[in-house]
């Protein structure tokens, strides 16, 4: 009985906070738009028979027919994949440096990585507007040093979106890689060198494979939220920045087309299930290896 209660707690939690809302969203995605409150039909007030008769896959068919949507999905995928790769390139050296720093420095370095979380995410993204805009700090600095003579247009382009995503999700990449590198036994690198590896070969053949799980975990932690990212493309991106999170927002709040917006959300979730399952499997395998 006690065991049942223990298991029931997380399941009730999942059911109430994930399955039920998802069921509602899924139901709306099968409905039709209506000028009413709520802005779709049918609702349960119409009676069971009419309710089920009113549900169809029309919205999904619409998503497939309008190329805006699949272009937005593809563009989101592209931005998420590229920014994940860029985050990895920035995070790995930082994590490596942290793991090799003197023992007494590490808590401070860790603190510096986590510190940005103390400020609201929204404010930090706004701060980037101040940095990247035509009159922003970056352009002023570059003009002052004389590297450029005309200000660069960075804000409201995809470049700004990449910068924003890399900046925002950097800690999520650094921390798992750092955890993996921190556990790495230094004598393994010495052994590799002793057996004829150059520094770079030892890094490539020993350090990278042994931090693989950290890299995979970090990549998923960045890729999954980046795919559905809405705030960064809205604030930093331009009119040609096409991301599914932004499309979703516009469908809900500008077009007030809840059924189509829900269909977009359902597809997005289905796309995300694949990496989430892969991520879970990686975590599980890692746990098994450590056992």
């Amino acid at each position: 009985m006690q065991r049942f209660v223990l298991i029931a707690v997380p399941y009730v939690w999942l059911l109430a906070l994930f399955m039920v809302p998802f069921a509602i969203v899924f139901k709306i995605s099968l409905s039709d738009i209506a000028l009413a409150i709520p802005p779709y039909t049918p609702t349960l007030d119409d009676g069971f028979a009419a309710f089920f008769a009113g549900l169809d896959f029309e919205n999904f068919a619409f998503l497939a027919s309008d190329d805006l949507y699949w272009k937005a999905y593809l563009s989101s995928l592209q931005i998420a994949v590229l920014s994940t790769a860029m985050t990895l390139c920035v995070a790995y050296p930082i994590a490596y440096g942290m793991a090799r720093a003197p023992e007494e420095w590490r808590p401070t370095l860790m603190m510096l990585v986590i510190l940005p979380f103390w400020t609201s995410f929204l404010i930090r993204v706004y701060a980037w507007i101040g940095i990247l805009s035509t009159e922003g700090f970056l352009n002023q600095f570059l003009l002052w040093t004389g590297i450029i003579s005309d200000p660069l247009t960075i804000l409201n382009t995809n470049a700004a979106v990449y910068i924003g995503i890399v900046y925002t999700y950097l800690p999520f990449m650094i921390l798992p890689i750092y955890a993996a590198l921190d556990r790495l036994d230094g004598s393994l690198i010495e052994a590799a060198e002793d057996l004829g590896c150059s520094r770079f070969q030892a890094f490539w053949l020993v350090t990278i494979p042994l931090s693989k799980n950290g890299i995979i975990a970090g990549c998923f932690l960045v890729f999954i939220p980046a795919l559905g990212e809405f705030v960064i493309p809205t604030l930093l991106g331009g009119s040609d920045t096409l991301m599914i999170g932004k499309v979703l927002w516009e469908e809900f709040f500008n077009n007030r087309d809840w059924p189509v917006a829900s269909a977009v959300a359902v597809i997005l979730l289905l796309i995300l299930i694949i990496p989430i399952v892969l991520f879970q499997r990686n975590q599980q395998r890692q746990a098994e290896e450590e056992a």
Binding site: E190, A191, A192, D194, L195, G196, P209
Partner: protein
């Protein structure tokens, strides 16, 4: 000189494989190695023995190339090795933690160094198979390091470091992680493998028994200096200092004043009103010089009556008996309050032991049994 005995260190025509020439290594203020000079010869099984922090691991890491001497020169086969990075040295190391690559199979671990040397596939397969056979690991080739036992891991580490047929193999506390039984078996295995491959082995250990068992010569170290380099028998029988005598095995130290009585023989006055002990020493002592007689417990015989022909005999009372199974160590208090340890084989069952606590017994030893030391 007897040619059948392996002793290149006594042959002045032999060129040493490794030569430390007044090597000093400092870490900040700390001097790990202090002006150290040492020759190690080909095919030797050389042990660096000392307490932790004596600099033995630093010496090994300098040979492997992970540290460079602050001053002085280390030569390998006549060439200064300081400019050669670790990956270019014909030296391999077996790490204390084994440092096996956890993501690679036993086979790939052993093949690791060979692959870096771009060995052709066929040769590589043969070499790895040879190593697996040498270390009796054929059955485990496909396993990962975490799927085999500690003793097997130790053998993988050995096979991996031997695979490239190095001129010199360094072993950093190679048996430290094994339990006592397995350690003994592995010591003989190590000697066997060293003999078969003819590789020069340098082993670092703090376990004097291990050093004595495996090594052709032992260097006893303390605080960055070498106290004595000798064969295990000589280290044990003829230590050159109190430190070495005390570090290796059990020893009784009797201090006194030396007095020459001819033929390298000295009388040692060790207590007022007691007849002096006689000791033989090739090292000269001046009359009245303070000296220390180092005496191994097993060289002291114990008897109920004074042995007739004994040159050194003293009566005392048994304070304590340490029963070790095959041996018993008797702690005997002699006049002046000094406690001498004497060891005797337990040839009879314990219930029939001849002596017990509080018995008055005689201790005796020959003049050549002990070593006379200055400090």
């Amino acid at each position: 000189m007897n040619q059948s005995v392996f002793s290149p260190w006594n042959d002045p025509t032999q060129e040493p494989l490794i030569r430390f020439k007044s090597v000093t290594k400092r870490f900040g203020d700390f001097t790990a190695i202090d002006d150290l000079t040492l020759d190690i010869f080909e095919q030797e099984f050389f042990a660096l023995l000392g307490p932790s922090g004596c600099g033995k691991t630093t010496m090994m890491r300098m040979l492997a190339g992970f540290e460079t001497p602050t001053s002085g020169v280390i030569e390998l086969a006549g060439k200064d090795i300081a400019p050669t990075p670790p990956n270019k040295r014909a030296v391999n190391m077996m790490f204390q933690s084994y440092a096996l690559f956890p993501h690679l199979s036993v086979y790939e671990n052993i093949a690791f160094g060979l692959r870096r040397a771009n060995m052709p596939k066929v040769d590589l397969d043969n070499r790895v198979a040879e190593m697996l056979k040498l270390t009796r690991l054929e059955k485990f080739a496909r396993r990962k390091p975490h799927q085999i036992s500690g003793g097997q891991r130790q053998r993988v580490a050995l096979a991996r470091s031997l695979a490239k047929a190095p001129k010199l193999l360094l072993l950093d506390e190679p048996l430290g992680a094994l339990d006592a039984k397995l350690r003994q078996a592995t010591q003989f295995e190590l000697m066997d493998i060293q003999e078969k491959t003819g590789t020069t082995f340098v082993i670092v250990t703090h376990d004097q028994e291990e050093a004595m068992t495996v090594a052709s010569r032992v260097a006893v170290m303390d605080e960055g200096r070498i106290m004595q380099v000798e064969t295990p028998e000589r280290i044990y029988e003829a230590p050159n200092s109190l430190y070495v005598a005390d570090f290796i095995g059990e020893v009784n130290i009797i201090s006194g004043q030396a007095r020459a009585i001819g033929d390298d023989r000295y009388a040692v006055d060790w207590a007022e009103g007691q007849p002096p002990f006689t000791a033989v020493s090739s090292k000269p002592f001046s009359d009245g010089q303070t000296c220390y007689l180092a005496l191994r417990p097993e060289k002291v015989s114990i008897s109920a009556d004074r042995p007739e022909d004994a040159e050194n005999a003293v009566q005392g009372k048994i304070l304590d008996i340490a029963y070790l199974g095959n041996l018993s160590t008797y702690h005997v208090e002699i006049p002046g309050g000094l406690v001498i340890k004497a060891q005797a084989a337990n040839t009879r069952r314990i219930s029939r032991r001849t002596y017990t606590w509080e018995d008055n017994v005689w201790l005796s030893w020959t003049p050549t049994a002990g070593v006379l030391l200055e400090v």
